[in-house]
């Protein structure tokens, strides 16, 4: 499998999830000969387990900058994306259940206005008109029309196809055991390149041990086809609290329409190592919370449930940039629940930093070196 890779590459990207695929695409477009490796197959890890949500998130100004850049990049790509990617510009509605949450909505709206992100405050009547399945008595919400949804396994394959058209090579079933200066080691084979990108998601610490990335497990359920049931991605404001705090477990209302007319129901977070088994209690809590916001969900038919691992960092920001401890190594990992969205922004940052260009947003908050600085003795 690796034996035939005798030609030199300018860049080797480890991990063919959506972040790795996007990086490979961006680097290939810059004229580098890129080799993209995955231990299993493209999109086989966290990528396929997620919700495919393209969302602007404002947990911090750095996160806002990265998600905003990324959603702009997705919107620019929209026309090129084939039907299989199922890109839906459905927007997000942040749902406020009471007055205090509505205050938070107004604050978000003001922030979006300052940052040039389109958004609209909805009162209870507008909310009910836009999403009739939401229970009565909610206070309102914030509509962010620029957000969307994609079928991310197909988006990943598409990015890889585009990368291939620019000369990149994908090799699946190739497990990287070790990264050293300008090299990756796959069993007895050593592959060398000026640029190595660790985009191995939740598995990234296996190769770069000081990366503070832990698997944060989530549950999802998808229904059968119910056209028109929900039109926008719906997220409760409490989602931010759930995503923000690294407590043991939490659930938050998060529901999404798919292009297939299936309804995707989330979300949950817990830290239980790599145990991928379905936790009935948490699944139940998650579904209960969803029904509390949308009672008619109870009558939909669930076809499948699954779990996945978000690569989570202590400060909720991904690690994107150079890793000085190993020559030629760049990190593009730790995106928690925003990997699909920020894959494009991340790729842009990596390509710019590798080329020595000024990136469109300040890359310092994402510098992997902050992890070295913050690391305590283990």
């Amino acid at each position: 499998m690796v034996g035939d890779l005798t030609s030199r590459h300018d860049a080797i990207v480890v991990g063919a999830g959506i972040v790795g695929a996007a990086c490979a695409h961006a680097l290939a477009r810059d004229g580098l000969r890129v080799l993209l490796l995955d231990a299993r197959y493209a999109a086989g890890g966290s990528t396929s387990a997620g919700m495919g949500h393209l969302v602007v998130m404002d947990d911090s100004s750095a996160q806002l900058a990265l998600t905003r850049l990324s959603t702009e990049l997705w919107r620019a790509l929209a026309r090129e994306l084939p039907p299989a990617v199922e890109h839906e510009p459905c927007g997000t509605i942040w749902v406020a259940s009471d007055e205090s949450e509505l205050d938070a909505v107004r604050a978000k709206h003001a922030l979006c206005a300052r940052e040039g992100i389109a958004s609209e405050v909805l009162g209870p009547r507008e909310l009910a008109m836009l999403e009739p399945q939401l229970r009565p008595g909610l206070a309102g919400g914030l509509l962010v029309p620029g957000d969307g949804v994609v079928y991310q396994p197909s988006a990943t394959l598409w990015l890889i196809e585009q990368a291939r058209e620019s000369g990149a090579t994908l090799r699946e079933g190739v497990r990287v055991d070790r990264i050293s200066d300008h090299a990756v080691h796959c069993g007895a084979t050593v592959l060398r390149a000026d640029v190595i990108v660790n985009a191995a998601g939740a598995d990234a610490p296996r190769l770069t041990t000081a990366l503070p990335i832990v698997p944060r497990k989530g549950h999802l359920a998808i229904t059968d086809r119910h056209p028109g049931f929900v039109r926008h991605q719906l997220v409760e404001l409490g989602y931010l609290a759930s995503a923000h705090t690294m407590t043991t477990e939490s659930v938050a209302f998060n529901v999404q329409p798919r292009a297939t007319h299936q309804v995707l129901v989330g979300s949950s977070r817990e830290l239980v190592g790599w145990d991928a088994s379905l936790n009935r209690r948490i699944l139940s809590r998650m579904l209960e919370r969803a029904i509390a916001y949308m009672p008619a969900l109870a009558a939909l038919s669930v076809v499948r449930t699954w779990t996945g691992f978000r690569p989570a960092t202590p400060d909720k920001l991904p690690l994107v940039g150079a890793w000085p401890e190993t020559r030629g190594l760049w990190i593009a990992a730790g995106h928690e629940g925003l990997g699909i969205t920020t894959s494009l922004g991340t790729a842009r940052l990596i390509a710019d930093l590798v080329a020595g260009r000024e990136p469109p947003i300040d890359a310092t908050p994402f510098a992997p070196t902050r992890a070295i600085a913050a690391a305590t003795v283990h």
């Binding site: 229904t223 009935r280 139940s284 579904l287 008619a296 969900l297 009558a299």
Partner: protein
Amino acid sequence: MSASNREFDADVAVIGAGPAGIAAATRAAEAGARVVIVDESPNVGGQIWRHRPGAAAPTGAIRWLARLERSGARVLAESTVFDLHRDDRDGFVVAFERAGAPGELRARALVLATGARERFLPFPGWTIPGVIGVGGAQALLKAGASVRGKTIVIAGSGPLLLPVAASLVHAGAHLALVAEQAPARRVASFAVGLWRRPAALRDAVRYRAGFLRVPYRLGEWVTEARGASVLTSVVMTDGRSSRAIPCDLLCVGFGLVPNTELPRHVGCSIADGVVRVDDRQATSVQGVFCAGEPTGIGGVDLALVEGEIAGLCAAEQGGAASSPLRARRARLRRLAAEMDRAFALRDELRRLPTAETIVCRCEDVAYGALYRDWSPRQAKLYARAGMGACQGRVCGPALEFLLGWDGDAVIRAPVTPTLLGAMCGREGDAPSVARVPSQPGNRNAPMRDE
């Protein structure tokens, strides 16, 4: 719905009320165990003993059904099991949905008697309404469908073709042809071997007599179904020449596939596609027994024997009265193995689908969309094959036959699609299982007058 209708406690829970489940539940209850038997159909009987509630049961079933009733075992019909797991006391919890509400059955031991389904193979036109299974035809007939005056072709494989042919003729259909894909010499040599098994031979003769004037062709198979919104004709071939036969219904099925989803979900070890059981019908999971088709396709008589053994052992009466049962089981398993060999599927069936033929019906995935070097997991992810409502039960065996894919994916709840409300223990009362109101986006466009 009150709690007493939703929570049940038993010594032995039997899942599946076909012959194996009925025998298991009966013997366990007669041995003194508290037994609850669960099935998603409106009535007990499974497939081969299917009958409408209140109607007469098939002859072979009558005595067992009477015995089941006398035994005191409790029957939960119309109950769809969607989850099954251990509780915290070494017993099991069976989560089911019934009339829109969740229910829970706790038991010390389980007998999984989930039966089998048909193997469908894709060919051009197989998705046209009017193409149904062979077992499907039998099921629909027994559920009240009328075939009087309809022109029917049966094409496929296996012993099931015979009784269904006889039933359809008896129900007033005009049966144009019964085609078995297995070559004549194989079927003939199997038939000759039946002199050693008088009961099976008697059955075969009786069934054939039921459709005596209908051609029963060996070494013939269907290559295409034609029609727009409904079936109008089928194309049959013997490998040399083809002919079209106008018909209203095509009954097509290529043998049976064991329903191993629940056993796999609870962790039972599987070998060669069937649940591994020991002499007591015990699986690799402590407290879980399995009987009937999921341990190996073998028909109603074997299912009954295995059910009896499983029921007795689950009720911890395994030592009693099981030696003659064991001997009978051994004989019937040998017959099942012979049938398997006689009706093996020919290679030509792998070449029936074209690139445009749908292989995953739930998601409309065409054969050409599946690259051969994809693993089943990749196919699901990239092309969605197996991601739909049937959870791969139809396309799985087809793709296994066509591409050699083995279906050993992890089975998570819901093991069958079920209501979201039931999955989190919600009652079926008005506010929670709310009716989805019709709305402009609902897209229900009536199918009539195509």
